[in-house]
């Protein structure tokens, strides 16, 4: 039995009286690929905000790693949490639009992050090889000198995934990676995420059910609803759960009524 690399217990977060997250319990195990689904406003992005230090919980515990090397994330800010090994891809692709694809990866590459280190650090050939490998992986090696702002939406998504990989984080938080991608690109993204599991522990937030089905396979899927976990289980179990059908999958029917 492996230990949870990420422990979220009894966490609540209220914005102006609105309970975005309420008494949430969540455990991510090492090497796991977890998919989180849930209707709009279920608290998915707030959940990521709490883990990455963008928001502080009102109560509860968020811990990274396990004894004796565990860290309380509620005391840390964004860059400290990132340095511990938690990387995040945002819902809307956020790449540096005025930088080249290559430089986007240079900025993300694992290494010292201080002011003076960045003044005097030279790129080593290992760094360049690593970036070249990543470019091949995300299929942007032909566009290394393009400004990232000129890439297509799907390519930006891939670049941001590449940036996440360059950081070599232990935990990857991936928010809607397939948004704006063609079916073929979506499928390739799924394959990539599956291949990364094991080496990294991954949480994917996604709306596209075909995609969820592809990446979930035998891995657990967590359904969030009104800020807490509605149910957890394999994709088929979750899909056939009457509670889930009511709040999430059933919404389409209610909507068209």
């Amino acid at each position: 039995m492996s230990h949870p690399i990420l422990t979220v217990e009894d966490v609540s977060k209220t914005y102006d009286g609105f309970k975005a997250i309420s008494d949430l319990n969540f455990y991510l195990f090492e090497g796991e690929l977890r998919t989180v689904i849930g209707p709009n406003g279920a608290g998915k992005s707030t959940f990521f905000d709490l883990i990455t230090g963008r928001a502080k919980p009102d109560k509860g515990k968020i811990e990274f790693g396990f004894e004796p090397d565990s860290h309380d994330l509620t005391d840390l800010n964004e860059y400290e949490i990132n340095r511990l090994g938690i990387g995040r891809k945002f819902q809307t692709p956020s790449v540096y639009v005025e930088h080249t694809v290559w430089d986007n990866l240079v900025l993300s590459l694992k290494g010292p992050r201080g002011v003076f280190a960045s003044l005097f650090k030279r790129q080593s050939s290992t760094d360049r090889d690593r970036i070249a490998d990543l470019l091949k992986l995300i299929r942007l090696d032909g566009k290394r000198d393009w400004k990232a702002g000129l890439l297509a939406h799907g390519e930006k998504q891939w670049l941001e995934i590449g940036m996440l990989l360059a950081q070599d984080s232990k935990v990857l938080l991936v928010d809607e990676p397939a948004a704006g991608m063609s079916d073929e690109e979506t499928h390739r993204t799924g394959d990539l995420l599956i291949s990364l599991a094991g080496k990294h522990s991954i949480i994917v937030i996604e709306h596209d059910m075909t995609f969820v089905k592809q990446i979930a396979r035998d891995n657990p899927v967590t359904v969030l609803h009104q800020g807490h976990v509605l149910c957890e289980g394999k994709f088929e179990e979750v899909q056939s759960d009457p509670k889930v059908r009511e709040v999430y999958l059933g919404r389409g029917k209610h909507g068209t009524r």
Partner: protein
């Protein structure tokens, strides 16, 4: 397989820009003083251009923050003035027995005239070390640097951004101006410092030797500007340069990539204060005066206009902007003294509306226009 960074076209244009700036400045450093020494260029012109070069330093300081880091500081003239004041203290103490009160025997201790006027009989203790040129030059960096460090630390730690940062910097410079306006601050009150006579033993006012001193100050200004350009060029090529521009375009992504962006912004803010301050220190002996008017917010805003007109986020843009707008001002304040601010406002408006990249983007625009007239427009490729 993988190209070294410098082989990429994007880097080539950066180097080209630096070479152009470097060659032009070197020519300026040599040719202007030579022409002046042979009587082909008036002393007035040399001093005027010397001041332009100091303004260019102020503009670079604004561009470093605004153009490269996305921090619109509306208070850079404060650091320019502080540098000027620190060096001005040295110049004031050099006047000594040459001042008006001393000549009429009312100033046995050789105090600056304004102090005698206010009834002081001895030099305030904090003025004393400014007898030394070295100490004064040190303070040109230390005082503005410390202020930038303290203000920047508080502002960036509290994550003050965008328009809030701009307003705070403006308030800072306004507050400082009010303080310097006060006579009991013993920094000359609203008249500031003026009537300088000597710098390092060389006369600033003598009919025979004055012009040579001014030539020396011009050369010093040009060399400092060249050094600052060299530094900025180097900085642009480092990973620091990449991080800085990433902060401008997407600070969140930088923060979530493990960079403490506050430290990077603080570093840039302090460096920008140094550059503005050294510009101010060189400006004061050439202009012959420094007073709190230089600290009022509109001076800082004017510097932002220079950068916008020249082209922000470039090395050459702020220099072109500072020189051309100030040259225009020198002409317009004589030809149309009442309309200068309207002309300046109009230029700013036109640039914002029709030339957001500033004057440096003109050649590219003309080239693109010619191309589009000749043949169908090619799909955009980022190889520019």
């Amino acid at each position: 397989m993988s190209l070294p960074a410098t082989d990429r076209p994007y880097f080539r244009s950066r180097h080209l820009e630096f070479i152009v700036v470097g060659v032009l400045l070197l020519l300026l450093t040599v040719i202007f003083p030579l022409l002046n020494a042979h009587g082909l260029l008036s002393d007035f012109t040399i001093t005027l251009w010397g001041k332009y070069l100091c303004y260019a330093l102020l503009a670079i300081s604004v561009d470093l923050l605004w153009g490269y880091t996305g921090l619109l500081s509306l208070g850079q003239a404060l650091f320019f003035s502080l540098g000027g004041y620190m060096f001005g203290m040295y110049l004031m103490l050099q006047i000594g027995m040459l001042g008006s009160y001393a000549k009429s025997g009312q100033n046995p201790n050789g105090l600056p005239d304004f102090m005698v006027f206010l009834g002081h009989t001895f030099l305030p203790p904090f003025w004393r070390p400014f007898q030394s040129f070295g100490f004064s030059v040190l303070m040109v960096f230390v005082i503005p640097g410390l202020l930038a460090l303290a203000f920047g630390f508080l502002a960036f730690r509290s994550r003050i951004k965008g328009v809030y940062f701009s307003i705070l910097t403006q308030a800072l410079t306004y507050g400082a101006a009010l303080m310097f306006f006060r006579n009991d601050f013993t920094m000359g009150g609203n008249n500031g410092f003026t009537d300088f006579k000597l710098i390092l033993g060389h006369s600033l006012v003598d009919n025979d030797t004055g012009p040579a001193t001014m030539r020396g100050l011009f050369i010093a200004s040009a060399l400092v500007l060249l050094t600052v350009c060299l530094f900025c060029h180097w900085l642009n090529g480092t990973k620091f340069g990449l991080v800085r521009q990433a902060i401008r375009d997407g600070e969140n992504r930088v923060l979530f990539s493990g960079y403490a962006t506050a430290n990077f912004k603080l570093f840039v803010f302090v460096v920008a204060a140094f550059i503005a301050a050294v510009g101010g220190a060189l400006f004061v002996p050439q202009a012959g005066i420094i007073n709190p008017d230089q600290m009022t917010p509109d001076k800082s805003i004017e510097a932002v206009v220079w950068v916008a007109v020249g082209g922000r986020g470039t090395l050459i843009g702020p220099i072109i902007g500072a020189i051309s707008i100030n040259a225009l001002r020198s002409w317009a304040t004589q030809a149309y003294p009442d309309s200068w601010l309207i002309i300046l406002g109009l230029i700013f408006l036109l640039v914002v509306l029709f030339l957001p990249g500033g004057m440096v983007s003109l050649p590219g625009k003309i080239k693109a226009l010619r191309k589009s007239q000749g043949k169908p427009v090619e799909p955009a490729v980022a190889r520019a």
